[in-house]
């Protein structure tokens, strides 16, 4: 069996495909087969853009009307596959919608799903994916066994999004069949937490704070410094769990993956869970009291010192410029 049909779980924001979607489409195109996009929701506004990125077909479920993505997405995909329109390989983003959908789908198809990948290779019939473990120090390459479709999820920024050969982007309806009790939950209200300044995963500079700040009030230093550097403020999981800042600030395995020009880690020791999300940064500056902190092993410039002493002086110096 050769891998000739690849589907990508596509998503959109503000009327355009997300960067993550374009990354996966770029990678899918590179294998030379037929690439299509599956879109949870009404894909009509983004079908042309997905076609331009290489999608021959754009499967559209139509408006979800408050249904949660996992059960609805899996039911629609299963119906397509049962109808004879099936991928050999299906690439999902490692995020909320992708993860919930692929988990449900894996049970319905009785196929394994390989998660948290950063790379994929196809060699004849062999499809292998690569997952970093132990904070990215070790790479595990795993080959799918059994029969297709193969299901895999990929971390954001695993591939570069590049322009390439356009395809038809033909809009195809993928109806969501009735799926009983599994589809009984409903979204009744959506809340968006507004944040100002550049987006965390797109900013050229990211300034993150951690437990070393001592208390929630000290996070204002991070915000001030971020503003001065036109940077996005970020956070370690520890202070998100402690409720100092919203989850949308979290950098790490369970938060955002960032690859800015410069990443400034203030009062962050460098737990595996955090390092996974930022070690791809071009330059890293770390300020931490403990000279044994793991963050110093990957920092280009490390300051062993108290953030309460270093940051105010740094802020003052930048304000004076």
């Amino acid at each position: 069996m050769t891998i000739s049909t690849i589907w990508v779980f596509a998503q959109a924001q503000d009327g355009a495909p997300t960067t993550g979607t374009l990354e996966l489409l770029t990678k899918a195109r590179s294998f030379g087969g037929t690439v299509s996009a599956f879109f949870l929701g009404d894909a009509a506004p983004v079908a042309a853009a997905l076609g331009a990125a290489g999608a021959a077909k754009v499967y559209s479920t139509g408006d979800l009307a408050g249904q949660l993505p996992g059960p609805a997405g899996a039911a629609a995909i299963k119906a397509l596959i049962d109808g004879g329109d099936a991928p050999d390989l299906f690439l999902f983003p490692q995020n909320y919608e992708g993860r919930d959908t692929v988990a449900r789908l894996s049970v319905q198809l009785d196929r394994t799903v390989l998660t948290n990948n950063t790379d994929i290779a196809i060699d004849g019939d062999a499809v292998t994916v690569t997952t970093p473990i132990f904070g990215g120090n070790t790479l595990v390459t795993t080959q799918f066994a059994g029969s297709a479709p193969y299901l895999a999820t990929f971390r954001p920024k695993s591939f570069a999004a590049e322009e390439g050969a356009a395809a038809a982007g033909e809009l195809v309806t993928a109806a969501i069949p009735e799926h009983g009790a599994t589809g009984a939950a409903r979204i009744t209200a959506v809340h968006v937490e507004e944040s100002s300044g550049p987006k965390l995963d797109e900013a050229r500079v990211v300034v993150s704070g951690g437990r070393g700040l001592g208390d929630a009030g000290a996070y204002s230093m991070i915000e001030t410094l971020a503003k001065l550097l036109k940077a996005a403020p970020g956070a370690s999981r520890a202070i998100v769990d402690a409720g100092w800042v919203p989850y949308s600030y979290q950098v790490g395995q369970t938060g955002k993956v960032v690859k800015p020009e410069v990443y400034i880690a203030a009062g962050i020791s460098g737990a595996t869970q955090h390092m996974v999300g930022m070690k791809g940064s071009k330059h890293i500056i770390a300020i931490n009291k403990d000279k044994e902190a793991p963050i110093f092993s990957i920092a280009d410039l490390g300051i062993v010192g108290d953030v309460h002493k270093v940051l105010p002086k740094l802020i003052e110096a930048l304000q004076a410029r």
Binding site: R99, A103, N116, G136, A145, T182, Y247, T254
Partner: protein
């Protein structure tokens, strides 16, 4: 109201992780502790049962060995009983097999009004198991729950999203996965620790659950290579003498960011 919490016993995350060189799977043969991610689910279950005015919290877990210390911790927090699926045949199980095993353990306990899992474990973090269990059991599910209240047979959830949060309602029975930090897990009291020693903890095998194949035989994957990533090298590390901020300023200048 009865709640079942899926918990995982993992190697102490404070210790460096290692792979078993013969199988390339995570070494899980030493002492195992309750995954901190699961302590939030146990706490939430206890609070929901208290709020409902009755019922009990049960635990299901799976391990290739007979380790129970992590389960005793959760029992000491206040859970009433536990089922551990322990079988050497489980070594090498993928997430889907894990979900099948845990779903069977849930059924062995007679099901529940609510099943709780963590959003992902701290060691393997595939993050798909709760949603897979829900699909196997035919239940609705709400992942990334950060606030949960129950009103009769209806559950109201605040579900974390990339942009903020959604308000979700779901009928019971259902499954949720809870994020870390949603509640403050209690420390087991001395009385709780003593009581946990005599609480029912049933250890069953895969054959008892009637599931085949498991472990390597059931996994839809083969590990073909393990390699070291190119390590990022440490740069200059300096002790702060009150003037190191100038180093940061000049570093940013070099990169033309200021």
């Amino acid at each position: 109201m009865n709640v079942i919490v899926c918990v995982k016993q993992i190697p102490d995350p404070a210790l460096p992780g290692a792979l078993d060189s013969s199988s390339n799977t995570l070494k899980r043969d030493g002492k195992l502790i309750l995954d901190e991610s699961d302590s939030y689910g146990v706490e939430m279950a206890l609070q929901l049962v208290t709020a409902a005015g009755g019922g009990e919290v049960s635990l299901v877990s799976m391990a290739p060995n007979g380790e129970v210390s992590g389960l005793r911790t959760a029992l000491a927090m206040g859970a009433a009983k536990a089922v551990l699926v322990s079988d050497p045949a489980l070594k090498g199980s993928d997430a889907l097999t894990t979900a099948k095993v845990l779903a069977a353990a849930v059924q062995r306990l007679g099901g529940a009004d609510l099943i709780i899992g963590a959003t992902e474990s701290s060691d393997g973090y595939t993050g798909t198991v709760p949603e897979q269990i829900a699909e196997i059991l035919g239940l609705p599910s709400v992942t990334f729950a950060k606030k949960v209240t129950i009103d009769g047979s209806t559950m109201h959830i605040e579900r974390q999203t990339e942009q903020g949060y959604d308000e979700v309602t779901s009928p019971l029975p259902a499954l949720i996965s809870v994020t870390a930090g949603v509640v403050e897990p209690r420390y087991p009291s001395f009385k709780g620790i003593m009581a946990a020693k005599s609480k029912p903890l049933e250890t069953v095998t895969v054959a008892d659950l009637g599931i085949t194949p498991v472990g390597w035989d059931g996994a839809g994957q083969t590990i073909v290579n393990v390699s070291q990533a190119e390590a990022r090298k440490a740069g200059e590390v300096i002790e702060d003498d009150g003037e190191t901020f100038t180093k940061v300023v000049s570093y940013l200048e070099t990169l033309k960011l200021i």
